[in-house]
């Protein structure tokens, strides 16, 4: 039993952290978020690193690593608050790999794995016109259907760019009919929930780190504000939330590949807890920063807004809690 990253996973984590820190400096994130766009050269670099295909099987053009490795990347991408069409593509890959037939997998997964022909997955299930992050520029859209999902090519769909709170990502309202149906089952969506939970954990960790740094440096009444228990105890609570989210997220990531029977409950717990934690922690981070945290010029609001959007994707915390109650036997 070892509930820690192995050496290879640790290496993926530190390489990703280093890379993202150098590429997505706060002013780069701000510029992209304010202009509502992505940097194609940065996406190309990420594709060259093989990240989009990290969890896709080798026979489908991916690296054949697992959910834990994907979760590591998602956590670091969340930490960097990177504007990049990574997550929606990864979710599309997970759903096609879990429920696509051989032909669908052969047609779409290599492009998703290389990042050259991206996929994009709807963030909500069972709605008529659905919101799809990064729909524009994608080669294939995974949309919800009565049973499982359908694959739709963007040329067969109507796309409307939405003006949402979170501008670190492009969101589109998509209307389409018909499409190529995927098989049934929820495994793909559950895996996507774990990827989202990892991103949320990263967002929360970043908000905590920024708050700790600020609380050490900001002085009021002749002391750093972090010396006051009203502030330091709030930061301790943030750590509590971040660590709970991380424990549940990596457990679910591990279960996805190693103990699939545990995945439905584990994924719901991870998504619910990480959604709640990222929202609570980013809110608390703004409070800990005082007035400066409320300004547009401070970067915290990008984290807060992305936490809000991520919280909405693939089921809200309260929707998942309702399902968890059923899974633990509430009649």
């Amino acid at each position: 039993m070892n509930f820690g990253l192995n050496d290879e996973q640790q290496e993926i984590k530190s390489t990703a952290k280093q890379f993202l820190e150098s590429r997505f400096k706060p002013d780069v994130v701000r510029e992209l978020a304010e202009e509502g766009r992505y940097d194609d050269a940065l996406w190309q670099e990420i594709c060259d690193l093989g990240w989009p295909g990290i969890a896709i099987a080798e026979e489908n053009g991916g690296q054949g690593l697992g959910m834990v490795e994907l979760a590591i990347l998602c956590e670091e991408l969340g930490y960097a608050c990177a504007p990049i069409p990574f997550l929606s593509n990864a979710a599309a890959g997970l759903m096609i790999e879990a429920a696509g037939d051989e032909k669908q997998r052969a047609r779409w997964l290599p492009g998703i794995a290389s990042g050259e022909a991206r996929g994009a997955a709807a963030m909500e299930r069972g709605k008529e016109a659905v919101i799809v992050p990064d729909a524009e520029g994608a080669a294939v859209l995974v949309l919800p259907a009565a049973e499982g999902g359908v694959l739709v090519e963007p040329s067969e769909a109507e796309l409307e760019r939405l003006d949402l709170l979170d501008t670190t990502r492009g969101y589109y309202r998509v209307s389409a009919s018909g499409g190529d149906p995927l098989g049934s089952g929820h495994e793909g969506a559950q895996r996507a929930m774990v990827a989202l939970a990892a991103e949320l954990t990263g967002l929360a960790q970043r908000a905590l780190d920024m708050s700790v740094a600020y609380a050490k440096e900001r002085e009021q009444f002749d002391r750093p504000i972090g010396a006051y228990q009203a502030v330091s105890h709030a930061l301790a609570r943030m750590l509590y939330d971040v660590e709970e989210a991380r424990s549940l997220t990596y457990y679910a990531a591990w279960a996805a590949d190693a103990e699939p029977d545990s995945l439905p409950l584990a994924a719901a717990m991870a998504k619910a807890r990480a959604s709640e934690a990222a929202w609570d922690v980013t809110k608390a981070a703004i409070q800990a920063h005082g007035g400066i945290g409320f300004t547009w010029e401070h970067d915290l609001h990008f984290l807060l807004k992305r936490a809000r959007a991520d919280g909405q994707m693939f089921g809200t915390a309260s929707e998942h809690r309702e399902r968890i109650a059923g899974m633990v036997g509430m009649a």
Binding site: N2, L5, A227, S232, H233, L239, Y240, V328
Partner: protein
């Protein structure tokens, strides 16, 4: 990352399971404390006879020398099988480890075996009426006399004091040096005239704890542990020993209670209540986060020798989940939750201590802020 047990670990778990199945003492007698205590003492004797009482103790001191992970497996299986606690719990998890770490050879010879066999019960004399979280400010005084020390003062929250042979006692031996430096760690004989134990009635109406009054109680020189003036350092070791391996078993206990709670709610036909469902789901997540956090912390401790940051929140998590769980149970019971005889009501009242005993949540937050997050101290 791999949460499955290796074949060796599985073999150890199976050995524990089989032993527990063959030797489970049952739920034990209800009611009278002394009857209950004898039952727990018999249980510890049985554990000791088969080499399980000192599961975490090194072999040279009569223990099993189990690894950290094996200890965790052992405690978790104990909790899952719902066996009683061994009678001499404080001796096993605190007293023994302190003697092994800081005691001399003759002290080890004298004290360790009777701890394992439950022949001599131990209690802990740290907290005082005026020294709770600020332990180092304690006022109980030990004055040098011929052949030993004379102790006068008062201790409080002393679990098991009324049946203990020995007290792990921290007292002030030098009032002229800074407060952390003037303390000494003693093993004080409770069976003497200068020691008076009075039960302390708590909000549940029972007396798990005691007040202990020392009035010129005598402690011989050979019962000083770790040297005069080193009491703070020795005491800290005791506190560190308190939690190793216990996080995962605490999670098993919570999980057992959560199952019972879901069953009770269903029996009352309340299983579809949306508010209760949300709260149950939160408890399930909390319970799992506690179990998994304990395993993460353990893995980090095995690999690097240091528990990760997730380890610092375990006790806080446990207390808060247990309080929410028992409160939810009494909410679901409605007016029946007001009845004193109701087991859930007892648990709800008892849980109020969970955020105080063994370090208040406020002190835990200070420790996290200062040692994990690196924030400046106010003092």
């Amino acid at each position: 990352m791999d949460l499955t047990l290796t074949s060796d670990e599985q073999a150890f778990r199976d050995e524990v399971r089989t032993w527990l199945e063959d030797n489970h003492p049952g739920a034990g007698p209800e009611g009278d404390d002394s009857v209950r205590f004898e039952f727990q003492r018999d249980w510890q004797r049985k554990m000791h006879a088969d080499g399980w009482a000192g599961v975490a103790w090194p072999k040279e001191y009569g223990g099993r020398g189990a690894s950290l992970l094996e200890q965790t497996i052992f405690y978790s299986e104990m909790a899952a099988a719902k066996v009683p606690r061994p009678a001499n719990i404080l001796g096993l998890v605190m007293g023994g480890p302190v003697v092994m770490a800081h005691g001399d050879e003759s002290q080890k010879e004298r004290f360790l075996e009777p701890i394992l066999s439950a022949e001599e019960i131990w209690c802990q004399g740290f907290s005082e009426p005026e020294s709770g979280s600020d332990l180092a400010s304690l006022k109980t005084r030990a004055t040098k006399v011929d052949g030993g020390w004379s102790v006068t003062g008062q201790k409080v929250w002393t679990t098991l004091a009324h049946i203990s042979k020995w007290c792990m006692l921290v007292a002030r031996t030098d009032a002229d040096v800074p407060k952390h430096k003037g303390l000494t760690y003693f093993i004080c004989d409770m069976e003497q005239e200068g020691v008076e134990v009075r039960p302390l009635l708590q909000i549940t109406g029972e007396a798990e704890f005691n007040e202990v009054f020392f009035n010129e109680a005598f402690v011989p020189d050979e019962n000083v542990i770790g040297g005069v003036g080193n009491g703070w350092m020795v005491a800290i070791t005791t506190l560190m020993n308190e939690r190793a391996g216990l996080g995962a078993s605490a999670a098993v206990g919570i999980s057992n209670d959560l199952d019972a709670l879901v069953e009770m709610i269903n029996q009352r036909g309340l299983g579809s209540d949306p508010m209760l469902r949300q709260r149950i789901a939160k408890l399930k997540m909390g319970s799992e986060a506690l179990r998994l956090g304990a395993l993460r912390s353990l893995s980090s401790q095995i690999k690097t020798g240091i528990p990760g940051p997730e380890g610092s929140v375990l006790k806080w998590q446990w207390g808060s989940i247990n309080q929410e769980l028992t409160e939810l149970a009494t909410d679901a019971l409605g007016s029946e939750g007001l009845e004193s005889e109701q087991e859930w009501t007892y648990k709800m009242l008892r849980s109020r201590a969970n955020s105080i005993e063994g370090g208040t949540t406020e002190v835990l937050k200070n420790i996290i802020a200062e040692r994990v997050l690196g924030l400046p101290k106010l003092r």
